[in-house]
Subunit: 295 residues, 2 copies
């Protein structure tokens, strides 16, 4: 008797990509402007290559021009910085993305700090995060994955103000900004992390749960308040002899149990995953409009 | 049968001021360097004047040079910015503080943003707040009042890691940075604010409560978990015909009730209050040492 509404991130992401595509077309027709996204990939990690390929493909689909620089694993930090500087000064580039993780011999902070704040479509610059935390300030960009989580809540008319929320995980790219975003919309937020002694108790009080801890099936049905809304960011491989690849992907939340208790839930895959790239496209579009001062 | 340890902020602040004074003396003797703090006051609000006078007096007591600019209420934003720029470039100034609130016709954000990040002893620059929120980053300065709260916890050997904490209030200057600081030390933090529907329930689960909401006696004894540690930031005037001024100052927490339930509590006055200025002196000293590259 699963009763939860399934939040179809794939469908929402498709809709967003269509919205972006039509706005990109308008920019081109009315102003001759084509939004551009530059991606810098260092090394040849298989997963990073896949992510970059998907991002480029998605840009193409909506009419955003993508630029790629692929540097060898053993290039220097200076070379990466040089390419960022070129993109910072290139007026046809409106967003710059450095695919993480970087090789260990590079200083990630130096590199991320060097991306112009106006083109930081990932929203990882400390100045952006500071503006996210501060009342009365507006960040130029909101990090894509947590922005995608909020968008799913908004498009499903889920009330946030006055609600209790639990965010599981506090990473710089998902958990921490997700908590700040929920708090900005007047939820009362508790951040659960690996040192939390009684996570079930906290999660059980939450009307909204965003999980981003990277532990397969950590959150059981019994952890949830009946009627809670569950946004599962986790993408975790678990062994599965029946799958051709020998594994399949599951979330942080035990879906079979949760969908009987929650009022709405994102599946994995097909939930938050597709939203991340959709938000990247949307941030790139926003950036192009802001740089060219188009309403 | 009050049993709580009274956290004597006045005594701790005195100790910190003595520590700062002896380090300031060392800097002068060994390097000929005298830390300097510049304060900019716009207008003639009585309370602001008192705060600025106290800050200057405290600087004097520990051997920090203070500089003051007092501008009329109806000066322009440009004049304020000009003075900040002069202090930014003055090598004898290591900390710059703009007394808030500013007159309504000025843009507070522009003004605060113009303070050099290396001299932002208040820690209000978004870049500093971003570094406070991000794992793996270190802010140059931590805002004084929340830093004072943490220092009281540390000097009383109160364990933070793994504990539940409730922060009541989420202002840019107290509540929000206090929550980030507690989380950095691995507490599990819930931020309570004016839209929180069940504050008592949340506070009752907390091992550590930091309250900064500005409502006299909001937190009753019944809101507290037995043995909780209470840091009361609130400074709220309540009518008191027996006082010569007609009012007295109380905290956000009902002290008489709380001291029977809590294991430790800060009084108001004499708790967090004196810590704020002590932290300002400490931040100014740190800044002078950093600028002159002294260990
Ligand atoms: N859908 C998408 O597009 C994306 C999905 N992801 C997925 O989201 C998940 C999280 O990613 P990311 O944020 O980068 O991960 P990180 O590994 O950077 O962070 C994991 C967080 O979870 C916390 N945590 C670890 N164990 C527990 C536990 N037992 N209980 C509670 N909290 C715990 C950690 O706490 P502590 O800080 O104490 O170590 C940490 O804050 C992963 O599965 C990842 O694949 C990530 C990005 C995008
Ligand atoms: N000891 C010291 O040196 C200092 C003391 N203070 C004192 O600390 C207190 C707070 O100051 P400040 O942070 O500047 O105040 P602000 O007015 O800026 O912020 C008050 C915060 O409390 C929240 N709040 C208001 N009502 C309630 C309620 N009923 N329940 C829960 N939360 C509530 C507000 O929520 P929302 O965001 O939803 O509006 C807001 O986040 C004041 O008494 C002030 O005098 C301040 C600075 C220094």
């Amino acid at each position: 008797n699963a009763s939860a509404i399934i939040i179809d991130g794939k469908a929402v992401a498709k809709q967003i990509r269509e919205e972006v595509a039509s706005e990109v077309a308008r920019l081109k027709d009315a102003f001759g402007i084509i939004p551009g996204l530059a991606v810098i990939l260092v090394g040849s990690r298989k997963d990073s290559q896949t992510y970059v390929r998907n991002k480029k493909k998605s840009c193409e689909d909506v009419g955003i021009t993508s630029y790629e620089v692929n540097l060898p694993e053993y290039c220097t930090e200076e070379e990466v910085l040089k390419h960022i500087s070129v993109f910072n000064n290139d007026p046809s580039v409106h967003g710059i993305l450095v695919q993480l993780p970087l090789p260990r011999h590079m200083n990630e902070q130096n590199i991320l700090n060097s991306v112009s704040i106006e083109k930081d479509v990932d929203g990882f610059n400390p100045l952006n995060i500071g503006c996210l935390a501060l009342q009365g300030r507006e960040p130029l960009f909101v990090p894509c994955t947590p922005k995608g989580c909020m968008d799913l809540l908004h498009r499903h008319n889920i009330e946030i103000k006055g609600k209790r929320a639990a965010v599981i995980g506090r990473s710089n790219i998902v958990g921490m900004p997700a908590a700040l975003l929920l708090q900005r919309e007047n939820a009362t937020v508790t951040v659960v992390h690996s040192r939390t002694s009684n996570p079930e108790e906290i999660v059980r009080q939450a009307d909204i749960v965003i999980s981003a801890c990277g532990i397969a099936n950590l959150v059981r049905g019994s952890w949830l308040k009946p009627g809670a809304v569950v946004i599962d960011v986790g993408i975790n491989p678990v062994e599965d002899p029946e799958s051709p690849r020998g594994y399949r992907l599951v979330g942080d939340v035990c879906y079979e149990e949760a969908c009987k208790i929650a009022s709405a839930i994102t599946p994995v895959p097909g939930g938050v995953g597709p939203m991340t790239i959709a938000m990247l496209l949307s941030n790139t579009l926003t950036s192009a409009k802001r740089i060219h001062n188009i309403k």
